[in-house]
């Protein structure tokens, strides 16, 4: 191109010197040459690439979605964290609970604890949307978590039980996968959020507990999920466990309210009896994360649960250091990759 356009005369044939000698290298008259007056293909491509790269010359900013286990591993190195595994069958209210905590911060501190920062603001907003007026719904709704890898919602909090600052990572996974662990415990090894959790939160769907038939299956499912997590090697002995009765707005107005509450108490006693050695600390909570009427305040019970999440820490199962105790500090240095970030 540079060879043939010195005088502003161009030819698509890069071998042509028409701008210098006025002759077509292929012997055509200039007005009949198919290449004369056109840019070469090579040049066209180059210019298109340049234009395209100009158009695309934007700089990406950090996403604001849920975090992957790899991203969580990096956060673990940065400061004090609490990983919370929220477990339960489908529709038990896992995402509602996460969205509800975030929505409480929209109106102010929660149990004396402030919102400090979040890397998941898009994800939180998406989770909250169908309970917000902007969705134009008449009844609040929260979408079911799709099957796939566990997703972590991130929020930094400070003040009160959180101390100066604490990163909270709320693990959300499709309920079918937890339920499926009772059929095949080998899948538990693919649940990093359980193994690394500082506490487990097991949701008991209050609406299902109201149903005469479903209540038996629900209690059985809950028990079998815990059994599968233990047998599959997912849990560590000593992990604090929150047992949460959800949708208490529905429970409170039901004629079966007392029976459902009694079932919930029985379930807790049964879990203590069966798994007390693995979970020495089991606490009960009752929440209305996203009530369908205003008979119960939005987020009822969630502040208590947040306080539990911040205070409860599992005892590390193994020592982090397996290196020989060298006297010299230099000899104790290890590459970052060797650090135990087991998520």
């Amino acid at each position: 191109m540079a060879d043939n356009d010195d005088n502003g005369v161009v030819c698509a044939n890069p071998d042509c010197r028409v701008s210098q000698d006025g002759k077509c290298v292929e012997g055509f008259e200039l007005n009949t040459c198919p290449h004369y007056g056109h840019l070469s293909d090579a040049v066209d491509d180059e210019e298109i690439v340049t234009e395209a790269s100009d158009v695309n010359a934007v700089i990406g900013l950090p996403a604001a979605d849920t975090l992957t286990p790899e991203q969580v591993a990096r956060l673990l190195r940065a400061g004090e964290t609490r990983i919370i595994a929220i477990i339960g069958p489908s529709d038990a209210g896992k995402t509602s609970l996460i969205a509800s905590l975030y929505d409480l911060f929209q109106e102010g501190s929660v149990a004396g604890i402030d919102f400090a920062r979040s890397r998941s603001l898009h994800a939180f907003e998406r989770a909250c949307h169908d309970a917000r007026a902007a969705s134009r719904r008449r009844i609040p709704h929260i979408n079911r978590t799709p099957r796939g890898e566990v997703r972590f919602y991130h929020i930094d909090v400070g003040g009160g039980a959180a101390g100066d600052v604490l990163s909270v990572l709320l693990g959300d996974r499709a309920g079918e996968e937890y339920r499926g662990a009772a059929d095949d415990t080998t899948v538990v090894t693919t649940f990093p959020e359980i193994r690394r959790a500082d506490s487990l939160t097991l949701l008991v769907d209050g609406e299902r507990l109201l149903d005469t038939g479903a209540r038996h299956n629900l209690r059985h499912e809950i028990t079998m999920i815990l059994q599968a997590l233990i047998d599959g090697g997912g849990v560590k002995t000593g992990q604090p466990l929150a047992l949460v009765l959800t949708k208490i707005d529905a429970v409170q107005v039901s004629p079966e309210s007392e029976r459902a509450e009694a079932d919930f108490r029985d379930l807790r006693m049964n879990l203590e009896r069966l798994f007390g050695a693995v979970f020495p600390r089991i606490e009960s909570f009752r929440v209305a994360a996203s009530p369908k009427t205003n008979a119960v305040a939005r987020g009822t019970g969630v502040p208590d649960l947040l306080t539990f999440w911040l205070e409860a820490r599992s005892v590390p199962a193994t020592s982090r250091s397996t290196s020989p105790a060298f006297a010299r500090a230099f000899a104790r240095l290890r590459p970052v990759d060797e650090l135990e970030i087991d998520i």
Binding site: Q106, E107, R117, R137, V157
Partner: protein, 286 residues
Amino acid sequence: MNARSIVIIGLPESGKTTFLAALWHLITERDIATALRFHTLKDGDATHLNEIAARWRDAKVQDRTAIGGNRLVSMNLKDANDTPVRVTFPDVAGEAYRRMWEDRDCEPEIVEILQAGGVLLFIHADAITPPRWVIDEVAQARALGLEVPDGEDIAWHPRLTPTQVQLVELLQLLRSEPLDIGPRKLAIMLSAWDKAEGERLAPGAYIEAKLPLLAQYLRRGADAWIYRIYGLSAQGGDYDRIDPAAPRLPGAEALRCLDRPSTRIRLVEEGPPTHDLTEPLAWLME
């Protein structure tokens, strides 16, 4: 001459250009004692500033087509010690900040602009979209005996996010790669303060009440902002549309009747109100 840059950010129509217009008038009119003072027009192009200040003096709203695009404007000022200082401000359309929230990217020139020094964050005090919930709205409608209309569900879009969430994210992004340059000073300007004063809240308390998520974020200091909060009425009231056929509003006419346009400006922090718009700038540059 010392050169300093100040980042002006805010969502669309948050009062950024009106601030620059009022500031340029105040600086060049020299009828009010200010922390930063006029120095010279030399070595600068004041065309854009002169245009927007003229519209401001005429009590006309800033024409959004005229203020579209990204501009850098500079003012040659003197500080309290008579030291000349050239202050550069970006006049970036609010859409660029909306894009940062929604599309998670920005143009390289915006990145460069945002990596300058202290930050002036504009929030339109009378245009805050709070979070609202289905059950609250349904309960309210029923309490008023209104029928709750059946409508089509609306899918989530980042633009539907409450104002406070977008503002928190904007500040978080300034403290994240690739925009982060370390802890910075932040002057929060609650614009259209004349419309918020009926609430009888100081600017800090107004943020607590109307933007509690932002208040918590600032209070916790996870991003180490050194901040002050101001209430700013840079217009003094509603201005007329720029369209020549637009009706002349009585309020705008009353503002035009003031003999000294600089006195339309009211800046409130903790003490008594002042007309000195340069005070936050002087603080940012300390």
